[in-house]
């Protein structure tokens, strides 16, 4: 309707916020996690982040999109945790926290492609946040979040090492071969501790 009739004119992005609020109310009213996920993704769209195409976030070179993705992700994660803590629609918490973590980590990943010190700073941030997410998920036995964290930390560390290794291809291959085997061993040990049902 907005695209066809453009009732908001140049202020058309506000329809995203209106739709986000309406779907959010509907999600709470009808207790639907699917509608809640749509409310969150529409809110992210209002902030310029296409939650349905996280790949686009990874390679977005617009700093505004990156920061909005990170801010939206943090907001969603906090919202999810608050819902769980308040025991109000606690079953919405995984939707908000998972989408939030994906947006934060996606935003950080998009920064590692930048050249020079900025790319290194984003990589270090990705390594730190990924490690933190993985550690927290390990303690709380949150398996999908553990996967997000491990992958993000590995990507962050790999990007930093590529900077150190430079154009020495053999050393790069050796790094990825050895560290992947170490990660596999670590995962096998973590799997025994976390006991994820098969």
């Amino acid at each position: 309707m907005e695209v066809h009739f453009t009732p908001l004119g140049a202020r058309w992005p506000w329809h995203l916020l209106i739709v986000a609020v309406l779907t959010g109310i509907a999600a709470f009213r009808f207790d639907s996690r699917v509608v809640f996920s749509l409310a969150l993704s529409t809110f992210a769209a209002w902030r310029g982040v296409a939650a349905g195409r996280l790949g686009a976030v990874f390679w977005a070179h617009t700093a505004a999109v990156r920061w909005n993705a990170i801010a939206c992700g943090a907001l969603f994660a906090i919202l999810g945790l608050a819902l769980a803590r308040a025991r109000r629609k606690a079953h919405f918490e995984p939707v908000a926290v998972h989408l939030g973590c994906l947006l934060v980590l996606g935003g950080l990943v998009s920064g590692i492609t930048e050249a020079g010190g900025a790319g290194l700073a984003w990589s270090a941030a990705l390594l730190l946040v990924g490690t933190g997410v993985a550690a927290g998920a390990f303690r709380c036995r949150r398996f999908p979040l553990f996967a997000f964290g491990v992958l993000a930390a590995y990507v962050g560390l790999g990007r930093l090492m590529i900077e150190v290794i430079g154009r020495r291809d053999a050393l790069g291959c050796l790094w990825f071969a050895v560290t992947s085997v170490l990660v596999i061993l670590g995962l096998l040990a973590a799997q025994r501790r976390m006991k994820e049902p098969a």
Binding site: F36, G52, S180
Partner: protein, 396 residues
């Protein structure tokens, strides 16, 4: 598959069903424990998340190791044969490793052995590609069908030996690509699925087969029926898609002749037939395929018959679908014990928590609106563009 693996898969299927029945409240804890004791698990398994991580990191480790070996052996373009020999040796070694992991190490659904099996097939296919295009000097047109057949054979062997249904489906797809290169490719795409479908349907439910082979039969059936639909689809006929896949570029056939009308009828009838068969036999894969192809046929109809602007069609179609779902749900729930002719609207023995999370993920992936472009709306900078504060760049 080895008899031990067959037994392990059957026991896993029983335990999985028992867990689902427990979640649905049909079994109590004591019965669940009794089932677990009666059908013990002798395999090393990982949960879905660890399985995915182990799969990914095994892919990275093996490929990086292969890259290192290639660099150490001094890979250059004129030494591609060395790399091919290395791929052949690596593929063989990875196949042996997969055998070892699944056999003596008793790994199943563990991620690592799935990655080694995939890499084994991939490296062997790469070696075969080099052999076809370098020593045999085949051009791309001649070499591709042979390579597809080799790939299909490798994937089929992997599916048969290690029980991966995905490989069976991929093998069928590779076979169809090879068939498309033949002069009567489109006819084969129609005849083969029609001939094989009844047997595949029986095999996909045969208790004599291991569960993985049943699933493999279902995967091949799904690919074959999708191929059949593609072959008889009116747009595929007009644009000669099968012939394009086969590397030929024939002229477009005349619009409105006998064959065109045949494809129009088939585009409408194949989804209806699939839905009817699925409903009659209570076969979930056929119902899914029927629903998918029906949606595709309706979109095709919109392409040829312009009843209204797209936004009206989309809005009406969405509303009609929602209404149909509610009507069907009400019809099923109003039946005796919430059931009509064996169909019910109630969820059956499914992991609802996981299913709902997947639904939410799918909703975000498929229905999330397109984001507004932040860098193309200076007029709105005051309203929405402040978010991000001092961390934002100058252009923000």
């Amino acid at each position: 598959m080895t008899p031990e693996l067959d037994r392990a898969d059957r026991a896993a299927a029983v335990r999985g069903a028992a867990r689902a029945w427990r979640r649905a409240g049909v079994l109590d804890d004591a019965a669940l424990a009794a089932v677990a004791a009666r059908f013990p698990d002798d395999r090393v398994r990982a949960g879905p998340v660890f399985r995915l991580l182990l799969f990914v990191f095994t892919l990275v480790a093996v490929n990086a190791g292969f890259g290192l070996l290639g660099l150490v052996t001094g890979f250059e373009h004129d030494k591609a044969g060395v790399l091919a020999a290395l791929a052949l040796a690596s593929g063989g070694a990875l196949a042996a490793l997969t055998e070892f992991l699944i056999g003596p190490r008793r790994r199943r659904q563990g991620g690592i052995e799935a990655a080694t099996s995939l890499l084994a097939a991939g490296y062997l296919a790469c070696a075969a590609a080099w052999w076809l295009f370098e020593p045999l000097q085949l051009d791309f047109r001649a070499g591709l069908p042979v390579l597809c057949l080799i790939g299909a054979a490798l994937l089929a062997a992997a599916a048969w030996r290690w029980g991966y249904p995905l490989y069976a489906g991929a093998a069928a797809a590779a076979l169809f690509v090879a068939l498309a290169r033949l002069p009567l490719g489109r006819l084969l795409w129609i005849a083969l699925p029609l001939a094989a479908a009844p047997r595949l349907l029986r095999l996909s439910a045969s208790p004599r087969l291991p569960p993985a082979h049943r699933s493999s039969s279902a995967a091949v059936l799904a690919v074959a029926l999708a191929g059949l639909y593609l072959a008889v689809h009116v747009s595929s006929w007009e644009a000669q898609w099968i012939e394009e896949i086969g590397g030929r570029h024939p002229q477009a056939p005349p619009h409105g002749d006998f064959r065109w009308w045949l494809t129009v009828a088939a585009t409408a009838l194949v989804p209806a037939a699939l839905l009817a068969l699925g409903l009659r036999g209570r076969r979930y894969p056929l119902l899914l395929l029927g629903a998918g192809t029906a949606a595709a046929s309706l979109v095709t109809l919109r392409h040829y018959v312009h009843l209204a602007p797209p936004w009206v069609v989309l809005a009406l179609a969405g509303a009609a679908l929602v209404a149909a779902v509610f009507a069907l749900r009400r019809l099923l729930e109003s039946g005796p014990a919430g059931e009509r002719h064996g169909f019910t609207a109630a969820p059956l023995f499914q992991d609802l928590a996981r299913q709902r999370l997947l639904e939410a993920g799918a909703a975000v992936a498929g229905l999330a609106p397109t984001a507004r472009p932040l860098d193309q709306e200076p007029k709105l900078a005051g309203g929405g563009g402040e978010f991000g504060g001092g961390g934002a760049s100058g252009e923000f």
